[in-house]
């Protein structure tokens, strides 16, 4: 039966992985069906974990289902910027001691899991919306809240509804100054911020082979901004090479059938995409950089789980090298994991950042969520490679956030206003 499902030509990725992994009988699941999935990995972080711990305690569950599959990650406000956060971090560490679950401190959860634990075909639930990042390597990965996370800790299972799917066909080649972030921003601008709500997005087409794992992770992560449940790159030679290099094996390598049916299909010619910027307030207010160029900024932020990877820091360094951050403008650079931080120091990126006048911080979510290391004051303007530009996201409710690729943010830091990165590459 399992082999039959894997070979079924009529199923999308989501239908196939749910059909194979569903608890009990392996049978074909179609959009709208509700079923229960056994969980391979459950993650909660320091802004959702403490509430899950409280709920777990209130339920009165005596033990967790499998401590080796439960990860608590202290990443959003690391290290603790104040006493209130420190107390919640303490609660997490005490839970780890009591139940023997895994603790990670000082790397962003999604990046840490991608570097160390995620494999194709696994079922991953995270109490964080950007958990869908792990779809970049063909995993079923999606976000849930704290109470459902507590239920997963107790039982190792959770209900899902089989989503409808969207197919995006990527063709063409990147133009200078254009990156994965620009593709996904363009897509969100096209479909709108609820255009993927409840849906599974499959990224396909000949241009996928040109995307690194980091670029795919950026796209899968940022797909959350149109509300998706899953955002999938199927396993291909790039994925296989990555897992060989990190010495981890797939659970299942799942490919959608050629006759699968999609709710919507989109074609994106990467060659026609230019650097994109989302204007403050909504993630789908996406403009070409030329339309907002010259807007004065107080801060540029390069980091977050969306765009804090080594390749992002590399592009920022390339642009900042030999330049100075404009006087009166802050440039905050925050890597997504401890490993990326270390690599950036070892390979001389950190030195370039410091010489340019940028601030190079430890790995954390930090400024993205306005918790520390780059909070915005009243009426301040920031250009940011982070995922969201909502009211008050990075600080004062009167502050404004423009979203862009790390390259556009770095170029803007040099000029003290929104700038086109193509001039620096």
């Amino acid at each position: 039966m399992r082999q039959g499902i894997l070979n079924d030509d009529s199923l999308t990725f989501a239908e196939k992985i749910i059909s194979i992994r569903a608890d009990g009988a392996e049978s074909i699941h179609r959009p709208g069906d509700i079923t229960v999935l056994p969980v391979d990995l459950a993650m909660a972080q320091d802004s959702t974990g403490p509430l899950a711990i409280k709920v777990f305690g209130e339920m009165g569950v005596p033990r967790v289902w499998d401590p080796s599959k439960i990860h608590l990650v202290i990443d959003h406000s690391f290290p603790a910027p104040d006493e209130k956060v420190a107390n919640l971090h303490h609660l997490m560490r005490e839970f780890v001691k009591k139940y023997g679950v895994r603790l990670v401190e000082g790397s962003i959860s999604h990046q840490h899991l991608l570097e160390n634990h995620v494999v194709p075909g696994m079922v991953l639930f995270g109490a964080d919306s950007h958990t869908c990042q792990a779809g970049a390597v063909g995993a079923f990965a999606t976000g849930i809240g704290s109470s459902e996370m507590a239920a997963v800790w107790a039982s190792g299972k959770l209900w899902v509804k089989v989503p409808e799917s969207i197919k995006v066909n990527l063709t063409g080649q990147f133009k200078k100054g254009v990156f994965a972030r620009d593709i996904v921003s363009h897509f969100i601008g096209t479909v709108g911020e609820d255009g993927g709500n409840y849906r599974s997005i499959e990224w396909k087409g000949p241009a996928v082979k040109d995307l690194s794992i980091a670029s795919r992770a950026c796209i899968s992560n940022n797909s959350m901004e149109c509300g998706c449940k899953l955002s999938i790159f199927e396993v291909d030679p790039t994925t296989q090479e990555y897992f060989r290099s990190v010495n981890r094996k797939s659970m299942y390598e799942i490919h959608a059938g050629s006759k699968a049916s999609y709710k919507d299909e989109y074609d994106i010619d990467i060659g026609k995409i230019v650097p994109e910027v989302a204007e403050p307030g909504n993630v789908d207010k996406v403009k070409e950089v030329g339309e907002v160029e010259g807007t004065p900024i107080d801060q540029a932020f390069i980091g977050s789980s969306t765009n804090g990877r080594y390749e992002d820091l590399g592009v920022a360094a390339k642009i900042l090298k030999g330049h100075k951050v404009k006087t009166g403008t802050r440039c905050v650079i925050t890597p997504a994991s401890k490993g990326i931080f270390e690599q950036a120091i070892k390979n001389g990126l950190a030195e370039i950042f410091l010489q340019s006048g940028a601030i190079f911080t430890n790995a954390t979510c930090g400024a993205c969520v306005g918790t520390h290391l780059g909070v915005l004051g009243e009426n301040e303007v920031c250009i940011s490679s982070s995922p969201r530009n909502y009211i008050g996201r990075m600080g004062a409710i009167t502050s404004k956030i423009y979203l862009s690729s790390p390259a556009t943010a770095a170029a803007s830091a040099i000029e003290g206003k929104i700038a086109d990165p193509r001039r620096y590459l």
Binding site: D33, G145, S147, E193, D194, K229, I397
Partner: protein, 180 residues
């Protein structure tokens, strides 16, 4: 605690795409585990004084995609502990919607509802029929949800459900899958 089946109250009308950063900013929600404290920051992005203005039994009526963005359960918790009795929207973002059932905050999807009401109208939510009656007397059926979720909501969410049944509501689900 079981949720009553008829909820009457005045409504706060919200626009499309109200995200969780508006409902409760990160820097407040990530600094407390106390739902009463969370409620002080409900709807802060629109009005930092909202918590002083809301009354027990008030209802929310919103446009499409209510609760988009982060997975933060503190968003529906802040609404629930503001003593808002139910949230009605044209549509909900996926995680927010799940979280409402998980914490026992009634959430009803009623397409077209935001054009039928104005700020502080009195409306009636019927959790038995899963419908909303607006001021003009018209009854608007909400989109159907599976019975196990309505049961979960009625029993007050996952904590109450588990304390009562020592199991989770989906553990008894029969999947609708088609076997070939």
């Amino acid at each position: 605690m079981t949720t009553p089946s008829i909820l009457k109250g005045r409504i706060w009308v919200w626009p499309d795409d109200v995200n969780t950063d508006i409902i409760i900013p990160f820097r407040f929600k990530a600094r407390t585990n106390d739902p009463v404290e969370m409620a002080k920051y409900a709807m802060y992005g629109f009005d930092p004084e909202f918590y002083k203005k809301v009354k027990a039994g008030d209802l929310f009526v919103a446009g499409k995609n209510f609760g988009g963005g982060s997975s933060r359960e503190q968003a529906p918790v802040a609404i629930k502990y503001s003593n808002v009795a139910a949230v009605i929207a044209e549509s909900f973002a996926r995680i927010f919607y799940r979280n409402c059932f998980a914490i026992g905050l009634p959430a009803l999807e009623v397409p077209g509802i935001s054009r039928q009401v104005k700020q502080f109208d009195e409306i009636e939510v019927n959790l038995q029929d899963w419908s909303v009656r607006t001021r003009n007397g018209i009854v608007h059926p909400a989109l159907k949800v599976p019975e196990f979720l309505r049961g979960l909501m009625r029993e007050g969410g996952l904590v109450e459900f588990y304390k009562h049944h020592h199991s989770f509501p989906w553990e008894t689900l029969e999947t609708k899958a088609i076997t070939r």
